[in-house]
Amino acid sequence: MSGGAPPGPEATSAALRARSLGKRYGSFPALDRIDLEIPAGQFVLLLGPNGAGKSTLLRLFATLIRPTSGEVLIHGAPAAGEEAAGLRRRIGLLSHHTFLYDHLTGRENLLFYARLYGLPDPGRAARDALRAVGLEERSEDLVRTYSRGMQQRLAIARASLHAPDILLLDEPFTGLDREATDRLQDNLRRAREARRTCVMATHDFAAGVPLADRVVILRAGRVALDRAAAGLDAAAVETLFRNTTRPVAEGVERSWTT
């Protein structure tokens, strides 16, 4: 991750808070009365079967969509309304989609985002971010010539370019080979050491659990389990996940077969 000031005195307050948060897509309730408080500097592993509401929760935290009910608070400020644009400056989002333009070079992509964020020295920010992810030598090549792993490293640089103190990660390991996964883990470990607040949705227990301070499991749009990750390894979390989500999975299976 690129540099930037870690969270300061507000480190003891909640960086993210969901208050009775709900989101419906038509008649489908993607999230239902979620109450969650994530202290600054905490690394939260967000788990759940497909359709449990993980991506929706992350997009609500990112202010990309508006809740149907309840509210999101970012560092105590409501994420809706006129303050949203300012709050977005504190958020970085990394997903399995890179948000990068194939026909721009790596440097041009970062320059575009740096300017979009109004960074004072976009050229320097882009250079530093490229160095941090080890892509300096390929900076003038078009992104479409990058491997999937390189694109994801550039996406990390993009997400952390403006030194956000909240990182939201939506399935960031998808499609990465072992080496790229290790690199991404290293980057995330550094973010954790810098006491950035991270919320990561993933199905990759082995990659996610070693980073986590806390595990939250969603099921059918609700929080089914919320506990500290201390003392848990990937196998233990997988067992917890299976036990917590089994009834719904069986229910879905039943509805498909009948």
């Binding site: 897509y25 969509i65 989002l93 997903s95 989609h97 990068l100």
Partner: protein, 225 residues
């Protein structure tokens, strides 16, 4: 970041990516030239005066190539979910809309800048129009078409059949600007006095103002899921 800088940044990014990929520019130009060639063969322009049909021929080419540019404009943002990267930035989202409008205007202007002289040569038209007024007519109507088209392109791009929905929604909404464009261009080509088509030009200007203002106010909601 300054609002206008964001507009220029988004438009510049679109131009750079499109010029590098070249697919879009080449497709637009060939499509528009093909329209001219087809009309040239379809009508005997030694009998029919270009002033009578020329405006219609030109605007068919401009509008259809504009639709191609518009459908591609937001498609590129949907791929790899790039739109989320834009929406995450601390910018006024209407600046993103205006950047897209500006890029579409520039693409259409390139097509117009090539097609107008080509059609003058192809149809053996003795250019008697006032160049300044002709440019004003092209600019006003291109802005109107790009403004309404970009709004509908953003609205339809998330749907599965966006290529079908965009023209279905766009063409009825673009009827006033299309009519005004053809009428004013026809008058300009014939070299008629300004008073004869001033009201059509006023309609184009009002259309631009209404759609640009409405889109700037509504664009945040258009991008909502």
């Amino acid at each position: 970041m300054d609002y206008l800088k964001t507009v220029a940044l988004v438009a510049g990014k679109d131009l750079r990516t499109e010029l590098r990929s070249r697919d879009q520019v080449v497709t637009l130009l060939f499509f528009a030239l093909l329209v001219l060639v087809v009309f040239n063969f379809a009508f005997d322009f030694t009998v029919i005066d270009f002033v009578t049909l020329g405006a219609g021929v030109l605007w068919v080419a401009f509008i259809f190539s504009g639709v191609l540019a518009l459908s591609h404009s937001f498609q590129i943002e949907r791929e790899e979910e790039r739109i989320q990267g834009i929406l995450l930035a601390p910018i006024d989202r209407s600046a993103f809309y205006l950047g897209k409008v500006l890029a579409t205007i520039l693409f259409m202007s390139v097509v117009e800048a090539i097609l107008v002289p080509v059609s003058v040569l192809m149809f053996n038209y003795h250019f008697s129009a006032q160049v300044g007024l002709a440019i004003l007519v092209l600019i006003l109507n291109t802005i109107g078409f790009a403004a309404v088209g970009t709004l509908f392109s953003a609205m339809t791009t998330r749907t599965r059949r966006s290529e079908l929905l965009l023209p279905l929604l766009l063409f009825p909404a673009a009827v006033p600007v299309a009519l005004a464009a053809v009428k004013t261009t026809s008058h300009v080509l014939a070299g008629r006095p300004f008073e004869r088509y001033a009201s059509w030009l006023a309609l184009s200007a009002a259309y631009d103002l209404i759609f640009l203002s409405a889109a700037v106010l509504l664009f945040d909601f258009v991008l909502e899921e």
